[in-house]
């Protein structure tokens, strides 16, 4: 593994001060900072190769096409897709999940069938399925969590049944950090005849992704949560599904022949990529994958597990602090939600922000989960491969002062 100093030196954003204090960025589950390699790749594309891909036979057009398709090949290899034709570039994970809901959901799910979600789903993997359920007369069912924030097998067997047409679930919760046993869930859902849509937005930066080993039918993630640019995301889908699905958006690029009254559609993956794509985003995402692979996901995971374990221990020493999530780093990712008694998370965020510490407060786009937990909002810290134990110590020290600021004495 590269040294921590060498890794941090790759991130210009981390060297800045806020309110005169060194920035401590602990909001990585929302978005990660960007390494120089990614910034350079995007800039070089715009400076040297900018053109509309797949159109025009001129030099730059070919360059842009090559870079865009190379990025697709890199993504396919990174997630171990069987073919790069199964990799569709989208704006982000939300758009990828909407693509599946609009195209697959609206055409394949029928009345009285069931769509199963986990109660911890992010709104992006929940609201689109509410739409499908409502439009098609299907029923939404939820997998609820055990007291230790895990998904029990009995719950899986209870909720996923022959009636289940589709299961939509995140590999890792963006609130609890829980990593769900998706391989088993997917295999069980397949036995029942259901397809499985995986939201990988949180897991991809932290765990090795292998869509074939998981046997996921669909798998969505965002570039900006894995050191890439905003505005680029990925939908992986099994070819058999993608072939059978109608297009999502219609326009240029996604067509074969356009007559006055009818149109035939382009082959995969272009059928799902209407309009001029975000080439610099794709190029940046490819650079982010290179960056991650240079370090290796295995080393990233080992390092981040260490941070999570350390932070879980330190946070438990903070008086009046309650953690929402497993207290053991095993089986969870580097995302820790908590509450401080008597302190609203938004006040917590403001107070630690004054020490230069960025954390997230609110419902984390998971309102049904917050209601289930009985917490209107929580504070959340989340780590990336550039965070340090010193930063965790500084955060814990700052958190210890929060109650005093809010007039609670200690």
């Amino acid at each position: 593994m590269l040294s921590l100093d060498a890794i941090r030196a790759q991130f210009p954003a981390l060297t800045q001060k806020v309110y005169g204090k060194p920035l401590i960025y602990l909001d990585n589950a929302a978005t990660t900072q960007t390494p120089i390699d990614v910034l350079v790749a995007c800039r070089e594309y715009k400076e040297k190769s900018n053109a509309n891909p797949h159109r025009g036979a001129h030099y730059l057009g070919v360059q842009a096409t090559t870079l865009y398709e190379n990025a697709r090949n890199k993504v396919a290899k990174f997630i171990n897709a069987a073919s790069s034709q199964e990799v569709i570039f989208t704006k982000n994970a939300t758009e990828a999940l909407n693509l599946v809901a609009y195209s697959y959901g609206m055409s394949k799910i029928s009345q009285d069938e069931e769509i199963v979600l986990c109660i911890s789903e992010h709104h992006s993997n929940l609201v689109p399925w509410q739409m499908v359920a409502k439009a098609k007369g299907a029923k939404l069912r939820y997998l609820y969590l055990a007291d230790d924030y895990t998904l029990s097998w009995s719950e899986v067997e209870k909720v996923i049944t022959e009636k289940t047409a589709l299961v939509a679930i995140a590999q890792m919760s963006n609130v609890l950090g829980t990593v769900y046993p998706l391989k088993d869930v997917i295999s069980y859902a397949h036995e029942k005849g259901a397809v499985v849509v995986v939201d990988g937005a949180q897991s991809v930066p932290h765990l090795q992704t292998d869509v074939q080993a998981l046997d996921a039918d669909f798998f969505a993630f965002s570039g900006h949560k894995m050191y890439g640019p905003m505005g680029i995301g990925v939908l992986y889908g099994k070819r058999e599904h993608l072939e059978a699905m109608p297009p999502f958006l219609r326009g240029g690029e996604m067509v074969e022949y356009v007559e006055e009254q009818v149109t035939t559609f382009n082959e995969l993956p272009y059928k799902f990529e209407a309009g001029t794509p975000n080439v610099e985003g794709a190029v940046g995402l490819a650079a982010a994958i290179d960056f991650l692979e240079k370090i290796s996901l295995e080393d990233v995971k080992a390092y981040e597990d260490g941070l999570t374990s350390y932070a879980l221990g330190k946070l438990q020493e903070v008086p009046y602090l309650k953690i929402y999530g497993a207290l053991d780093a095993k089986g969870r990712g580097p995302v820790i939600s908590f509450s401080l008694e008597g302190c609203h998370p938004h006040d917590v965020a403001t107070i630690v922000d004054s020490d230069g510490i960025a954390l997230r407060a609110g419902h984390h786009c998971a309102q049904p989960l917050m209601r289930y937990l009985g917490a209107p909002a929580t504070s959340r810290i989340s780590f990336a491969l550039y965070n340090t134990k010193d930063e965790i110590d500084a955060c814990v020290a700052s958190l210890k002062g929060v109650r005093r600021w809010l007039g609670h004495g200690s």
Binding site: H344, I351, A377
Partner: protein, 142 residues
């Protein structure tokens, strides 16, 4: 960032225990206000007789800023006409948007002038203005 300019004693007092945090036995109108991004969620109730707000109260949960702002607002509007209350709400919202800075006007806000600093904190503006927007909505029912 100067936290002591935000979490003043006055604001903390109002946020921790407010005599106005209760339910009215009877009310003329009520309105729920919500900041979806951070979870502030309040309901304001008004009892209006002959155009005068004779009683007002709130319930719900939220951050210190939203709770204190609601409490101070009720302090201010109780006993006033709905029209006066709307004028005060406009002054408060104008203060936060930095559109109103005349001291004579701001003084009408009494204790609620304590939120003037929030106008420098974009992340907290929504918390401070929630009650005042909710009040405006509630009075539309009158």
């Amino acid at each position: 960032m100067d936290l002591s300019a935000l979490y003043t004693e006055l604001i903390l007092e109002h946020s921790q225990k407010s005599e106005h945090k209760r339910q009215l036995k009877t009310s003329t109108c009520s309105e729920r206000g919500h900041n979806p991004s951070c979870g502030d969620d309040i309901t304001i109730e008004l009892l209006v007789e002959d155009g005068k707000i004779v009683d007002a109260a709130f319930t719900g949960s939220g951050c210190a800023i939203s709770q204190a702002s609601t409490s101070m607002m009720i302090d201010l509007i109780k006993g006033r006409s709905a029209e006066e209350a709307q004028t005060l709400a406009n002054i408060f919202l104008g203060m936060i948007k930095r559109e109103i800075s005349s001291e004579a006007e701001l003084e009408l806000l009494e204790e609620a002038i304590a939120f003037q600093n929030v106008s420098n904190m974009p992340a907290r503006v929504k918390c401070a203005v929630l009650a005042w927007h909710t009040l405006t909505e509630a009075m539309k029912e009158l």
